[in-house]
């Protein structure tokens, strides 16, 4: 009977992904798969030294090589005012070096040739005369008085400081420390690492010499922002720029910034009148594009003897490389690092942050993280663990005593965030029970007696994602709203166009589920489009776990808008007043006469064939969603490890991850995101490292040196969940893409430290290789 009709539920359902069929059959369309008629190939000559004056560049031999069409230098770009470009943090970065090189791997010249092999051959023929300059590889060296000024290209710049920024209340924090029974401190370093998506960055730039229209296929997480940046950099009229971000082979923040290669390829296409392809090699990706972290942190926690936290002080020093190119909101110089109070009710906090230039690659992107939240979460979770040892309180118990309580939400933190919702104790309970925490602690004690070293580490993280409300969040002045445009066709099928851009997150499936949830059109009938700036509404892109909180909300809201129009249409068809209808998930029914109904498909057909007098035809709309607040996903991660006293090797024996990301749209995809993030978190804790010698040579410039875990090293994960909906998001979702990377590094490190903590070990710097553990074992007298 129609009266008993129940619409299908589409939230919380592991719908298999719509995008998979093409990927599984080799029919994806990544940037490097694109070939255009007459296309040329570009390769980049990079500086072998980290800091030097360029005396001369001789390109004559390269230009003479058969097949070479052009060699582009900074001098040539300077004639078109293109030698420098803005970064997303409002600094400048060289497109091609003119006066100096300021990092190893900096782009010096580009060869454009008929064939990619010839383009590479020609690089060898370019002669560059460098005059070496002193190299700065740490922010501490950089801020020493008298240090050479790296950015002497900037008029009036007399030191290497990028910014100084503070949050919280210094006086209140000082008072809290004055009242403390105990003060526990931690000094640590979150080393430089790299998102290293498996697909490197690249583009195919196609500037039509007749119309002047530039079509740029680009590995972009933020195609609309990139279009606007291109308009500003190149002075091209924005309607003549089309950025197409096709299938993207992973991003993790690496594909948010604008890189010199994109700009030179576009300039070369403009000058030559032919399409130009540039695809970076892996070394180029690792040594020159957006790195992550490189944060020195020290801080203190003021506590009462019973473990109650009273105040937090943190000083942070950030290595920015030679340009300030963090991709983050303009007003927040150190991103969202001031979320460093974490999951705890700490009445007073003061955070001091400084950034400094060095002769290293710029970037500071958020590697699967929302603008420096990973560093903040790592720091507080390491510090709380340290405090537990110093106070002799169990690490779980100390956390529990200080968690923000469920009834305290919305909770305003000491640094000004308004946490939307949470139940931290419950997430921890689920994690500890799943892990068998008490049993493990007992096993740890027995193992120690037997000469074995077992460690148990926790992290109860809180993230802040979904940037963000326009009053506080913008990039280069562009407010961080996002958008969705929905068109329902006469046959009741739909196309959804969104301002964000997937890089594997499964938007084509989950966003169709959001429409299905709101309108009852099955996901299979909803085509989701993204990534093409001509065909999607303006949006700020996909990073910082913002797609679901922003564009996902926009999708729900535009669907509701259309539902209201469909109500008018249904009322017209059923000859009743709109308020006499009830919505039951996929159709309208007449209240009290449930057999009289109009499905969403019938209403859609009427929108084009039988609309009431005075109503505009069509069933489509667009919504730009300005979120009222950020969302605050959280969870508890628990790790057990065993450390080999003979070699310093450590092995994860258990890893339990309990996440609360609010309402889960597609649990299969959510869990996939979590497992991917846990792996990257493990990678940072165990092996990923970009470092430099004193001459600024990058160590970690290929996958033989920059270690990424394989299936062999990666531990098994046991997942759990709690659900605390976001009160302000239309469907209660919070975003999940990065929780695991944010929360897990501290859990892994805490576990390894815990194995050695009884012997006084408090700190091991990431990545924790067996060498570091071995040294600690020897110093602690635990080595075998």
């Amino acid at each position: 009977m129609a009266g008993e009709h129940t619409a299908e539920a589409w939230l919380g359902r592991s719908v298999r992904r719509k995008e998979d069929d093409r990927f599984l059959q080799g029919k994806g369309n990544y940037v490097d798969d694109i070939t255009l008629p007459g296309m040329l190939h570009m390769s980049v000559l990079r500086s072998p030294v980290a800091h030097a004056r360029i005396n001369s560049i001789d390109t004559s031999a390269a230009e003479a090589l058969p097949g070479v069409v052009a060699v582009v230098t900074g001098e040539l770009l300077a004639q078109h005012n293109l030698a420098w470009m803005p970064t997303l943090s409002g600094d400048t970065q060289a497109v091609l070096a003119t006066d100096k090189v300021r990092m190893q791997g900096q782009e010096v010249a580009c060869v454009v040739a008929e064939d990619p092999y010839v383009a590479h051959d020609a690089l060898e023929l370019i002669e560059v005369d460098y005059d070496p300059l002193p190299v700065i590889v740490t922010p501490q060296q950089s801020l020493e008085p008298g240090a050479p000024v790296i950015r002497d290209d900037k008029e009036g710049k007399e030191d290497n400081r990028v910014y100084h920024w503070e949050a919280g209340d210094k006086e209140a924090t000082d008072r809290a420390f004055a009242q403390a029974d105990r003060v526990v401190s931690l000094e640590t370093f979150y080393p430089r690492c790299h998102p290293a998506p498996l697909e490197t960055c690249g583009c195919v730039a196609d500037v039509n010499p007749v119309t002047g229209r530039a079509t740029i296929y680009m590995t972009s997480q933020a195609p609309h922002v990139h279009r606007t940046v291109f308009a500003l950099v190149a002075g091209l009229p924005e309607q003549n720029i089309q950025i197409i971000s096709p299938d993207i082979g992973g991003g993790f923040g690496n594909k948010v910034p604008v890189y010199p290669g994109y700009v030179v390829a576009t300039a070369a296409s403009l000058l030559l009148g032919r399409p130009v392809k540039w695809v970076e090699d892996r070394t180029g990706n690792l040594i020159s594009t957006g790195f992550a972290r490189d944060f020195y942190m020290n801080g203190e926690l003021a506590l009462r003897e019973d473990g109650k936290m009273l105040g937090l002080r943190v000083n942070m020093l950030s290595d920015q490389g030679y340009a300030y190119a963090d991709a983050q909101p303009s007003k927040l110089r150190a991103g969202l690092f001031h979320i460093v109070t974490g999951s705890y009710d700490i009445p007073a906090a003061h955070v001091v942050t400084d950034g400094a230039y060095t002769n290293k690659a710029p970037g500071g992107v958020a590697y699967r993280c929302s603008f420096r939240v990973t560093e903040a979460s790592f720091f507080i979770e390491r510090l709380v663990q340290t405090a537990a040892y110093e106070l002799g309180i169990d690490q779980a118990e100390l956390r529990r005593r200080n968690f923000i309580k469920p009834e305290q939400f919305p909770y305003t933190s000491a640094t000004g965030f308004v946490y939307d919702s949470g139940d931290y104790g419950r997430a921890m309970d689920v994690a500890l029970e799943k892990l068998g925490y008490e049993d493990l602690k007992a096993e740890q004690a027995r193992a120690r007696d037997g000469g074995r070293l077992i460690g148990v580490g926790l992290a109860s993280f809180t993230e802040v994602v979904g940037a963000g409300p326009s009053k506080d969040y913008d990039i280069l002045g562009l407010k961080m709203f996002d958008s969705a445009e929905l068109r329902v066709h006469p046959t009741g099928k739909a196309i959804l166009k969104i301002g964000v851009q997937t890089q594997g997150q499964g938007h084509e499936t989950t966003f169709a589920q959001i429409v299905a949830n709101e309108l009852g059109i099955p996901p299979a009938d909803v085509l989701v489009q993204h990534g093409d700036t001509d065909n999607t509404p303006y949006g700020l892109g996909t990073y910082a776990s913002r797609s679901t909180p922003t564009a996902g909300a926009a999708t729900a809201m535009v669907s509701r808008k259309l539902r209201e129009k469909a109500r008018q249409l249904a009322a017209h068809l059923l000859e009743v007043a709109p308020e006499d209808l009830e919505w039951v998930g996929d159709r309208f029914r007449v209240k009290g006469a449930p057999d009289r109904q109009t499905t969403i498909q019938e209403a859609a057909f009427a929108a084009y064939t039988d609309m009431p007098e005075g109503m505009e035809a069509g069933l489509e709309g667009v919504t730009y969603y300005d979120p009222p607040n950020m969302t605050y996903p959280f969870g508890t991660y628990a790790v057990a490890v065993e450390v080999d006293r003979g070699t310093g090797q450590w092995k994860v024996t258990r890893m339990v991850a309990v996440d609360d990301c609010g309402v889960r749209i597609n649990p299969m995809i959510v869990e996939g995101q979590i497992m991917g993030g846990l792996t990257e978190g493990f990678a940072m804790a165990a092996m990923e490292l970009i470092t430099f010698d004193e001459l600024g040579n990058c160590i970690g410039s290929n996958f033989s040196d920059y270690l990424i875990p394989t299936a062999w090293e990666t531990p098994k994960f046991e997942l759990g969940e709690t659900v605390t909906p976001s009160p302000h998001h239309p469907i209660g979702a919070k975003g999940v893409g990065e929780s695991a990377t944010v929360g897990s590094p501290a859990a892994f490190v805490n576990a390894v430290v815990d194995a050695l903590a009884h012997a006084g070990v408090r700190e091991l710097e990431m990545p924790i290789g067996p060498d570091k553990v071995w040294k600690a074992l020897v110093e602690a007298g635990l080595a075998e």
Partner: protein, 162 residues
């Protein structure tokens, strides 16, 4: 020089420079762009194809070395409009996200299952340890291979019974 290779069952010839890599022959000359390039050091396995049934990294082999041999790429997995059991398994167990490593993972898995129809989790992890994935964390890839192994076994049983 001329090179002739049997690609996905079809004989294909091309005039190539001796230094042309096999992956470039496949991608650029034969336009089989399902095989990807993720590094320059034979580390990532995105370019994995089967050469006479054995997985090789096609970025570390010259095209001319494949002369007269059989190459299987991801485009050769589905047959008659039907997905291969591995492709089904990866979809069913969510063994892929961005899809960039997927072709290499599928081919390395195919070689494994042909040699060992019922591999343990550790055997799967070892067999795939030459292929990097940044999105999935491998756990679902392992499950996908297990799903496929079960499917292939039940298909074989059904065939024998039939």
């Amino acid at each position: 020089m001329k090179v002739t290779v049997v690609v996905n069952g079809q004989e294909r010839s091309a005039e190539v420079e001796p230094r042309l890599l096999l992956v470039h022959l496949l991608r650029e000359r034969l336009r089989l762009t399902g095989t990807h390039i993720g590094c320059d050091t034979t580390s990532c396995g995105a370019c994995t194809v089967l050469l006479d049934g054995t997985p090789v990294k096609s970025c570390t082999m010259f095209a001319v070395q494949a002369e007269g041999r059989e190459v299987t790429t991801v485009e050769g997995l589905a047959a008659g409009g039907q997905l291969h059991a591995l492709q089904e398994g990866f979809k069913e167990e969510h063994g892929l996200q961005c899809g960039f490593c997927t072709p290499g993972m599928l081919l390395a898995s195919k070689a494994l299952l042909e040699e060992n129809p019922d591999p343990s989790e550790q055997e799967i992890r070892w067999a795939l340890s030459g292929n990097l994935c940044r999105c999935t964390g491998y756990q679902n890839i392992v499950k996908a291979v297990q799903w496929s192994a079960r499917k292939l076994q039940s298909d074989r049983a059904a065939n024998q019974a039939g």
